[in-house]
């Protein structure tokens, strides 16, 4: 209650408290049960990837020729593949590859896109026009074709897969960020910063970038799911991660066609893992957008 004495010109009122992290998570889950489910999948995947050695007693690369193509049982919960490798163990370790590629490529790609997009919007004019056309050229290639081209040039392997996926992410992120940054560019606080004689880089990094964080976070989560899918596709095509590294796409390549009828678990479980992961990230990203959107408007 505003009862304290105040000096003239001052204003006493209730101060909205800064929400705590737990409170924010709680309100997100209550408002977006589906998003919370997506978030749960994402968190589970991360836990799986980090604590992989603790979760399974089988070495994902160890062959056991005594238990080739074993059906799921108490010994091997999800069965084994044609080399007798435990599928559960390979899926858990495969989460490492998927998340490594997914997070690293989308983080780097989106971050570069963020810088390029904001810079392009801030300077505008010819620079913006030229930049946009270059981005158009990149966007004209389907994601997978561009990644294929990169792998074809640099060769296979985890690092090259990351590079291959990062490059097509950049223009997508840049375009979305640029659209938001164009609106921010017209805000009076950017004018105020210019009137104060701040440098261009200061205005871009300190005043504009933090204000496009909401769309940036959304594209980031959506891109992680996409990147996981592309990584799986590339590995499936034999252009991505190479054997014996456990990777979901690779697992499909190995056993899917050959044993589809005799040992369907070899294809079903890695396929499920991919679907669930992408589904989780997409759900989470969508809800994040819905949740952040009204805040962007106010």
């Amino acid at each position: 209650m505003a009862t304290e004495t105040v000096s003239p010109g001052t204003i006493v009122e209730d101060i909205p408290r800064k929400p705590t992290l737990l409170g924010t998570i709680g309100s997100f889950c209550r408002g977006n049960p589906l998003g919370a489910f997506g978030g749960f999948i994402v968190v589970t995947m991360c836990v799986m990837a980090i604590f992989a050695p603790l979760l399974t007693s089988y070495d994902p690369t160890a062959n056991d020729f005594g238990a080739m193509l074993a059906a799921p049982d108490w010994e091997h919960w999800l069965g084994t593949d044609q080399f007798g490798r435990d599928l559960l163990s390979r899926i858990i370790y495969g989460a490492r590859t998927a998340l490594l590629v997914g997070f690293v490529s989308s983080f780097i790609g989106c971050f570069l896109g963020l810088i390029l997009g904001v810079t392009s919007a801030y300077f505008g004019g010819r620079f913006d026009l030229l930049f946009q056309r270059v981005m158009d050229v990149f966007m004209a290639f389907p994601l997978i074709i561009l990644a294929l081209a990169v792998v074809a040039i640099f060769g296979t392997g985890v690092t090259n897969v990351i590079i291959a996926i990062t490059i097509p992410v950049i223009p997508r992120a840049a375009r979305i960020v640029r659209a938001s940054a164009l609106a921010i560019r017209e805000m009076p606080y950017v004018d105020a910063a210019r009137a104060n004689g701040f440098s261009n880089s200061r205005i871009i990094f300190r005043h504009m970038m933090p204000n496009v964080m909401a769309p940036f976070l959304i594209i980031l989560t959506a891109q992680v799911g996409q990147a996981i899918l592309i990584e799986a596709s590339l590995s499936y095509l034999g252009l991505g991660v190479q054997e014996p590294v456990p990777a979901w796409g690779l697992m499909l390549r190995g056993g899917a066609q050959e044993y589809a009828e005799s040992a369907p678990w070899v294809a079903i479980f890695p396929g499920l893992a991919i679907t669930l992961a992408v589904f989780g990230f997409n759900l989470f990203g969508d809800s994040l957008r819905d949740w952040l959107d009204p805040k962007m408007k106010t």
Binding site: T10, P188, D191, A195, N196
Partner: protein, 689 residues
């Protein structure tokens, strides 16, 4: 009709009649009693309207006045039953024409809306559907409610457009909203509102988005239609001048409740609630010079999630006593005049106007050193590319403007939207580069200054923007916002910045602990103070105030104006004060320049300009701006200029004002008049005065 007997037993109805309309009216068309509305929000219940009651008679214009968040719009939307889904009407009746609107089914209510009661919204740019032709939008309610044939509806639409003063109505029917100006669109909105001969028209801030000359045109039209067609009008506004000029009766709302109601003469001449009195003394007035400091209401309206107990105004009231912790009832203080204050009878004695708190503001000694800023023929043209094979067009935003500002002086720059006043401000700050001309700041020309030279000047030249919501970076704390310029320009070592921020905060009337807040945690007025503190952080000599108080509520606006004036005295600042509100400009400025379509048409010391306006445009602007005093308003001659601002893409030949000018002669269409000195320092660009 059976409800009238009930209504008559309550003190709310029947008696509250304005003197000159009393004779012709009988039963009120609308009686609201004891209305309460609340909203569910994630933070709790917001009681947006509490126990509100008023009546409206045919042919009468009733004003609901209040600051933003006072519940004035919600109470009106409730009549239309157009509230958001989170709203809940907890009590009350709305008797319209013998029926309680709150008891009607949705289907019955739909037949009332647009037929018997219609509504005009604030934003004429967005309240018309952009993809439908004007004609169809006017005819739609005629088809739905009156079941007219297309031919009948078209004839009626033409009649309506003529009624609201739109020329060539038949061809207008085929136009889309974007082809009309803001004023025209608001006329179309009124035509739609009137289409089914409603008994009641609700206008929610109908002219807030419009310029003052257009505002006068629209309100005159509404007043005239209300008289001629016997339509009752509820006008919701924050502009006390409009109320004084047009309203028959006034209801003042504060924090969800009506605190005072009566005829315009009663409320303005003899207010019985401290809030109403405070509001009236907080507005700058066109008929008063800059001698007096505005007497403002301190503080801000309460948060309706947790309103203060008892009288809502108690925390801000200078006259609060213990008894005020009990809510005062709305009681009659004289015939037809009610106020909700325990001390309403004593107020006359204890609240002496123009008492000690009205300290005179001494003008700062005239600059002996010469002007701090001189503009010479400053010009800014924006090229608009017309497509592949079309020639480029030029928007002549600022056209050869010459002005100067002395140290410690305020130059007011007035004009309607689109006249180029904000562009001029941006050019002075070099946020936009001038096309031509000289900007001499302390003798150095900025027009062609490089970025290094500008960097040095930027410390001395600052800006305060209109919108306190978007002029602060939402991701930075108040302390960072104010401290950043000091660290970038290395004015103070890092460890001293914190103390300086606290000092600046107290200078603008905020608390030191607010440095840790984010802008969204502050109110509009507080944010504007942060903007001022940021501008002051580099110890500037000159500040461009671009509509710096336009977005603020009346009581907050007064506080900020006083702050700006106080700072000028204390620090010897010079201001370029850009505004469309003539009263504010009159209050704050030493000199005033009137701008029209990129050109200065009159330039004189403030008192001289307002007392003795020479240019017909200045005269028209002054005539259009209402004064918050019904007694003065009733005797003021109404000279409303017609027409609207021409496009700066195709300015008229000769004097830019000639198409709207009442005294234009043939020569005005040929020759561009130069600024002439008609009196001491009184410059006018008109050949006919």
């Amino acid at each position: 009709m059976q409800t009238t007997a009930e209504g008559a037993t309550k003190s709310l109805s029947g008696e509250v009649l304005s003197s000159h309309t009393a004779a012709k009216m009988g039963k009120p068309v609308l009686e609201i009693e004891n209305l309460s509305v609340q909203f569910r929000s994630s933070h709790g219940l917001v009681r947006a309207v509490e126990n509100v009651g008023y009546t409206v008679h045919p042919g009468e214009m009733v004003a609901i006045v209040g600051e933003s968040g006072s519940g004035k719009s919600v109470s009106a939307l409730t009549i239309m039953r157009l509230l958001a889904q989170t709203a809940e009407i907890t009590s009350g009746t709305i008797n319209f024409d013998g029926r309680d609107l709150l008891k009607l089914s949705d289907e019955e209510m739909r037949r009332v809306r647009g037929h018997h009661v219609s509504m005009i919204f604030q934003e004429p740019m967005t309240s018309l559907n952009p993809v439908l032709k004007i004609g169809l939008q006017i005819m739609e309610p005629l088809f739905i409610h009156l079941k007219m044939s297309p031919e009948e509806a078209k004839a009626r639409a033409i009649e309506l457009l003529t009624l609201v003063g739109i020329t060539d109505p038949e061809s207008r029917l085929e136009q889309y909203p974007h082809q009309l100006s803001g004023g025209m669109r608001q006329r179309v909105m009124i035509a739609i509102g009137l289409s089914c001969n409603p008994k009641l028209l609700i206008a929610d801030e109908p002219t807030t988005a419009l310029d003052v000359t257009i505002q006068a045109q629209i309100l005159e039209l509404m007043k005239d239609l209300s008289r001629r067609l016997d339509i009752a009008i509820i006008i919701i506004t924050h502009n006390l001048g409009i109320v004084a000029r047009y309203a028959d009766r006034v209801n003042v709302m504060y924090a969800a409740r009506i605190v005072e109601s009566g005829t315009a003469e009663q409320v303005f001449g003899n207010a019985h609630h401290p809030y109403a009195r405070g509001l009236l003394s907080a507005v700058p007035r066109l008929d008063r010079g800059r001698a007096m400091r505005l007497q403002t209401i301190e503080g801000a309206p309460p948060n309706l999630l947790k309103p203060p107990e008892g009288c809502r105004f108690r925390p801000r009231c200078r006259f609060a006593i213990d008894k005020c912790s009990v809510s005062p009832p709305l009681v009659e203080v004289e015939k037809g005049h009610r106020a909700a204050c325990h001390r309403s009878a004593d107020l006359e004695k204890i609240d002496k106007p123009a008492a000690a708190s009205h300290e005179a503001i001494h003008a700062v000694a005239d600059g002996v050193t010469g002007p701090i800023l001189q503009l010479k023929d400053v010009t800014k043209f924006f090229p608009i590319s017309g497509g592949l094979f079309q020639p480029k067009k030029l928007v002549r935003a600022v056209n050869k403007v010459t002005l100067d500002i002395a140290p410690g002086e305020t130059l007011g720059l007035v004009g309607e939207s689109g006249c180029g006043k904000s562009t001029l401000g941006r050019v002075v700050l070099r946020l936009d580069d001038p096309t031509d001309g000289k900007i001499l700041f302390e003798g150095a020309d900025l027009a062609n200054a490089g970025s290094d030279e500008m960097l040095a000047v930027r410390k001395k030249m600052q800006v305060i923007f209109q919108d306190p919501f978007s002029s602060l970076n939402p991701r930075m704390t108040v302390g960072d916002i104010i401290g950043e310029p000091m660290s970038v320009h290395k004015i103070l070592p890092k460890e001293k910045i914190h103390d300086r921020v606290a000092e600046l905060l107290s200078l603008v009337g905020l608390h030191g602990y607010m440095a840790d807040r984010y802008p969204h945690q502050l109110s509009g007025g507080q944010r504007q103070r942060v903007g001022i503190a940021r501008a002051l952080s580099v110890n500037p000599k000159f500040i461009v105030c671009d509509e710096a108080v336009s977005a603020l509520d009346v009581s907050i606006q007064g506080q900020v104006i006083n702050l700006l004036e106080g700072l000028q005295q204390k620090l010897g600042l010079s201001y370029l004060f850009i505004a469309h509100d003539l009263a504010v400009v009159r209050h704050i400025s030493h000199k005033v320049a009137v701008m029209y379509l990129g050109k200065i048409v009159e330039y004189a010391p403030a008192d001289e300009l307002f007392a003795n306006p020479k240019h017909p445009y200045t005269q028209a602007l002054l005539a259009a701006a209402p004064i918050p005093d019904p007694v003065i308003e009733r005797t003021r001659p109404r000279r409303i200029i017609t027409g609207e601002l021409p496009s700066p893409l195709r300015p008229p030949p000769g004097c830019v004002f000639n198409p709207r000018c009442p005294i234009a002669v043939e020569n005005c269409r040929k020759e561009i008049p130069a600024l002439r000195e008609l009196g001491p320092n009184h410059w006018v660009a008109c050949s006919e005065v």
